[in-house]
Symmetry: C2
């Protein structure tokens, strides 16, 4: 069986979990305290990060490389349509969320509020939290603008771009940092993606010391 | 003709330039002062970053999305072999350089020494410069270890992984921050890649206020 070394509130791990679940690849989840840099773990991934996926007798790392590998070896159901233009748009948006959104929002809210406590790095820096709370508004508005033109973020079809975005937002929703009233289009999009079977394991996550708000796992939030 | 909005000392732009040149796609280079956030530029890329490539009547952004698009639409000469395992290894290494190396080395040396001056953000933070100078040693050793097992970074063939690594190292070499005496294997690898016609435009770059060392453009460095 596939095995994923992960942490529950990592958007990069969640993106991989969503891809695996959508493709109906069964996976054993192993929580990895990657910040302790265990030598066995570093042998699996010298970069010292999660996600790390054991699949097809290989060790795969880097969430972008993992998701592309899954797509190439298990093309159905497709999360990357065949035409090069749409694929470029999907990858642009995956980069948008995993790079820009991550830097401006996820690292400022989730990492300050949760990761610092879990890894023993101390208290949230309120300047960062404030910056993240401000930046997420702009990003929700950008998503609303995209969804004004498109059914899903990259076009007519649900793709890896939607999973990248939903992975970040679901982590932030766990700590009540998403204002779903800001845009009806974004809320509808998240309701659609949240109701997919692939999302179930993510909605069942429980992180010790952090209780999610009641709406977190509610499909009619 | 293709048009690339770039800055000369951006490893992400250089990776795209190397891909374009290797595929013999002629391109007009336009220097973009992206930090001034010109509205015309933001319309092309709301993420506000370079590289931005106009190609096939489209605007492409995010260097990973751009390089994959070029590979999919111009497969020869190949920078990504067909088998999924090698492709995963290439993408892992592109992620290694564009994420880990970028964060631990490029942002600590190049951005402190050059970008801060160019964008008027002030003086280098010596703590960062020291950390970058220390981290690059580990990365050169990791490359040496890979090249001990392989002809090129991801295997027997030159790929996008080599271009990602060479893009970062060439920027750092411009400011004399690479100790080529640390590993003969890495130096040989760089000599091979540096002598490719695709590298010529990069070796001819001149940045006002920063003069490269004499060995920068020398193929027998």
């Amino acid at each position: 069986m596939a095995r994923l070394y992960h942490v529950p509130l990592s958007p990069f791990c969640r993106k991989v979990r969503l891809s695996l679940a959508e493709k109906k690849i069964e996976v054993e989840l192993i929580e990895e305290r990657y910040w302790e840099q265990d030598p066995d773990f570093l042998r699996r991934n010298p970069a010292g990060k999660v996600p790390v996926l054991r699949l097809d007798g290989m060790i795969l790392t880097e969430s972008a490389a993992i998701c592309e590998y899954i797509e190439e070896t298990r093309p159905e159901p497709s999360l990357m349509p065949k035409d090069a233009e749409t694929r470029a748009e999907i990858r642009r948006l995956v980069g948008w969320f995993d790079d820009k959104f991550h830097q401006e929002v996820t690292s400022k809210l989730l990492y300050e509020r949760v990761n610092k406590k879990v890894t023993g790095e101390g208290y949230p820096d309120s300047k960062n939290v404030k910056a993240g709370a401000k930046a997420i508004k702009y990003h929700l508005d950008y998503m609303a603008w995209l969804l004004d033109h498109r059914r899903w973020l990259a076009g007519d079809q649900m793709t890896l771009a939607d999973f990248a975005a939903a992975a970040h937002l679901s982590c932030l929703d766990y700590i009540s940092d998403v204002d779903w009233n800001r845009s009806a289009a974004v809320k509808d999009w998240y309701a659609k993606i949240k109701s997919r079977p692939a999302f179930r394991s993510i909605l069942a996550d429980q992180i010790a010391g952090f209780r999610p708000p009641p709406h977190y796992a509610d499909l009619d939030f």
